[in-house]
Symmetry: C2
Subunit: 189 residues, 2 copies
C-alpha cells in the first residue's frame, strides 16, 4: 500500500528520538516536528504511539529469534556458534542502531505485545544457554559458571548499539572477530 513507506519513515524517525530520550519522554508532537508535519497527520499512517514502539521492538526480537534458531542447528563447535551469535548481533545492530535502544530499554512499555516479546526473549536466552552448556559438556569451553558466561556475553552484545555508532569506517568482519576474540579468549596475556 502507498502509506507503507511513510509509515516506515515515521517508525525510523521515532526510533531515533526514542534512542535519544526514551519512549516515554518523546511526544507525538516531537515525532511530527522531526518529520516536518503536524502531530495529527501521523494518525493517517499509524494507529497509535504504542503501535510505533511495538513495530520497532517486535520486528527486531523476531530477527534475533530467527538468527539464533539457524545457528543452534548448525553442526559446528560451540565456539563457532558463539562467533556466529556475535556476528548476528553486530550485523543487526549496524542495520538498526536506533531500534536497538528501544529493544533494550523500552520493552516494558509494550502493551498488547509484552507477553509475546517476553516469550521471544526468554527463548533466545534459553537457546544461548544451551549452546554454552553444550560447549562445557563437550570440553570446548572452560568448566565454570555458565550463567556468568551467558550474562557477560549477552551484556556486551546487548550494549553494542551504544558503541558501534562511535566507530567510523568500521570493517564489520574485522570488528566482529576482534570482539569474538575478547569475549572468548579474554584479555589476559
Amino acid at each position: 500500500m502507498k502509506t507503507e513507506t511513510r509509515k516506515q519513515q515515521i517508525i525510523q524517525t521515532s526510533a531515533i528520538l526514542f534512542k535519544e530520550r526514551g519512549y516515554s519522554a518523546v511526544t507525538m508532537r516531537d515525532i511530527a516536528k522531526a518529520m516536518g508535519i503536524k502531530a495529527a497527520s501521523l494518525y493517517n499512517h499509524i494507529a497509535s504511539k504504542q503501535e510505533i514502539l511495538s513495530d520497532i521492538i517486535i520486528s527486531l526480537a523476531e530477527e534475533f529469534t530467527e538468527g539464533i534458531q539457524c545457528i543452534v542447528n548448525l553442526d559446528e563447535s560451540s565456539i563457532f556458534k558463539i562467533k556466529q551469535i556475535v556476528h548476528l548481533h553486530v550485523q543487526i545492530t549496524l542495520n538498526n542502531q536506533f531500534g536497538m535502544a528501544s529493544l533494550n530499554n523500552d520493552w516494558m512499555h509494550l502493551e498488547g505485545k509484552l507477553d509475546y516479546y517476553l516469550t521471544l526473549r526468554k527463548n533466545y536466552e534459553t537457546v544461548f544457554r544451551q549452546i554454552i552448556d553444550m560447549g562445557i559438556s563437550r570440553n570446548e569451553l572452560v568448566k565454570g559458571n555458565s550463567e556468568v558466561m551467558l550474562f557477560s556475553l549477552l551484556s556486551t552484545l546487548r550494549s553494542l548499539y551504544i558503541w558501534l555508532p562511535k566507530k567510523e569506517e568500521l570493517d564489520v568482519d574485522e570488528f566482529s572477530s576482534e570482539l569474538s576474540s575478547v569475549l572468548i579468549n579474554g584479555i589476559n596475556k
Copy 2:
C-alpha cells in the same frame, strides 16, 4: 535535619519505580502512592522530581569516581586493578540495585547537573582506558584493540544491576572472582 530520613525514603522509593518503568514514565502521584501519602506532600521534602533523579545519579557517579581513583593509584598489576574494578562494580551495584538503573538509563534526563555527570563519566572511562593501555604496554594484557576491551568490560559491569538481583544467596567475593575470571581469561578451554 528532621526531613533527611524522609527525603531518603522518597529517593529510595523513587529509585525502585524508576528502575521498573524509567524516570519519564513515573509520576509524582506514583511515588506518593507507593509511600502511602499524597503527591503534594512530597514537596515538603524535595524541591522537584528532577532533584530526586539528580540525587540518585550524582551520588552514584561520585562513588564510582572515588573508587576508580583509589584503584588507579595502587602499585599493582593491571590485572589486579581490573579485578578491583570488577569488585567495585559488584559492591556498589549490590548496595544500590535500583539506583544503578537510573544511572545507566536516565542520565539524559538530568537538567542542571547533566554536564557534571558527563564529566564524571568521561573521567571514569579515561582512567579505565589508562589501566588497560598500561596493561598492554607492560605485557600483562594481550596486544589487541583496547577500545574493544574497554567496551566489553564496561558493558558487562554496567549491566550488573539487571542480573545481580536474580541471584539468591550470592557470595559477593565468589561471584566477583567468577566474573573477573570470565572477563579476564575468557571462556575458551
